[in-house]
Subunit: 356 residues, 2 copies
Amino acid sequence: MKKHNFNAGPCILPQVALENTAKAVLDLDGIGLSLITISHRSKEFQAIIDETEALWMELLNIPAGYKVLFLGGGASTQFCMVPYNLMKTKAAYVETGVWAKKAAKEAKLFGKVEVIASSVDKNFTYYPKVTNIPTDADYLHITTNNTIYGTELREDLNSPIPLVADMSSDIMSRPVDVSKYALIYGGAQKNVGPAGVTFVIVKEDILGKVDRPIPSMLDYRTHVDKGSMYNTPPCFAIYTMREVLKWVKAQGGVKAMEKLAIERAKVIYDEIDRNKMFVGTVEPASRSRMNICFVMAEKYKDKEEAFLEFAKSQGMVGIKGHRDVGGFRASAYNALPMESAKALVACMQEFEKKNA
Amino acid sequence: MKKHNFNAGPCILPQVALENTAKAVLDLDGIGLSLITISHRSKEFQAIIDETEALWMELLNIPAGYKVLFLGGGASTQFCMVPYNLMKTKAAYVETGVWAKKAAKEAKLFGKVEVIASSVDKNFTYYPKVTNIPTDADYLHITTNNTIYGTELREDLNSPIPLVADMSSDIMSRPVDVSKYALIYGGAQKNVGPAGVTFVIVKEDILGKVDRPIPSMLDYRTHVDKGSMYNTPPCFAIYTMREVLKWVKAQGGVKAMEKLAIERAKVIYDEIDRNKMFVGTVEPASRSRMNICFVMAEKYKDKEEAFLEFAKSQGMVGIKGHRDVGGFRASAYNALPMESAKALVACMQEFEKKNA
């Protein structure tokens, strides 16, 4: 049976990217060697990483003065690299969930953290207004999309201080005005590739302003200077990322991704709002297009397991909600076809017919 | 033409590991989803990482009290994680090449570094005797195999202080008495897998003895506590590592790898010593089985480019020496078949016939 992949990450990737990757693992472009057995210093791999970088610049329309880096260690390593490189005395954080809190926690090792907005009062079910940004903080850190709670900020904030954004789970799902950010980072394993590579878009002139010594691998300047090749990069993950970005471009770029994201999310949210057995968990204005969270309506609470079982029998994968929210989460990343969104809706409708 | 892959890393991997990986990228064990599109929290991936860990424990006969970790960031990140976690005031380092020096450089950010042995006087062409280990240092750091210079220490030192070893380029090429080490680490991209994952074998009771705050991702205890799943691990690279280790086991384990390494290196070194056009660069007692460095004999210095061209025409890949040594380097990692070693020798002999 066809599987509909709603995993929260690692998650669905374009089929053509998988096929090209599998081919390259056996033989890269007919050179008689596998992608993963060639030197990262070879002209073949240099061409791959160069094209990957060029696709980032083009797809997000990244202005001059910025570099795109491909690092290991995941977004979680960025939680400490950001303050290591940017915090002199104080930073402002917006608290919108587990990942935002983890980012703030690491920053506390390097200076003062001021939480200037939070949605913890309602279990992170809305995106708080970000106002009164303190001008004496070294930077403002936000998490644009909250994978666990299903909230999203789709506005590029006007910040009087350098703006740092964790965009792990919504990068490339809409055009972004990169010029409004000092640094954007994220794990690749949602919209742009497999687990194992982290992207960083950094404005070069924000670097080199702190006094603390920074270990080479944690210093963004190391990777800027060496074009992400200071040490052996995660070659395979970068290759697949390139294939994913080629697909994004072929589909029409981030504007096309945004159009699909809007339509795909609407199909699912409309059904959640219509179907009497289900309730969305997030305030409508904050609803994420990437992670759609919902639970059984009060009256049908005892049907949760039954729905999970039924959905599974229909080929739905990964729709169990995170333990912090419960219920269900349909992650609808770039590569998820509309067909899968409709299959989930059909599933919800059939379940309602049988059970409501 | 068949390629003989002498790349220094990323490098040759067993063909069966490549084939199984390519299959899993398309469909993991017939589940209808790709290895790289499933959750790292799925039972399928948990089984993969568990088996990978079990293979490490079995193949290296790792004693109780140790954990094996799979991290991102490369061995270069370990250069700072080691002192972050282990250095109170002072550490001893053995200086045997570029990587050893880089490791010592990062340690200097955390305390005093005492270089207790070095082979810099002869451009790292021998492995220095390691004696007079200072008992007041917090640990001793060694690099067992020096990829660039082709030297190797195959003795498990008796150290009165915790012994830390970068085994990036010779792990799994011989049995190791793990009980003599406090910590062993390395990038996978030589004998155990593709680029993108770093292995760490750590004795648990050496952790938690420093006072400095450690960022979560740089704290070994984080990864010990969470079984390398604190954040999303490099799933693909771990999968391929498992396939490589299954192959090592099927071949007869590290003893079989050692036997092959000895025979394979002998075939090449014997030819270097016999052939009047070539000279080995390393003192015989320190010669690495993994990276075999040689240059043209003085009389034939002008033939270097010609030999590289000829070798290339015969299918040899990756034999150009590192710029710090010049000449040639034949890396002979676990997966390199004897057939390739013999093909290189045939190449050298034919070149001698035509040119000497």
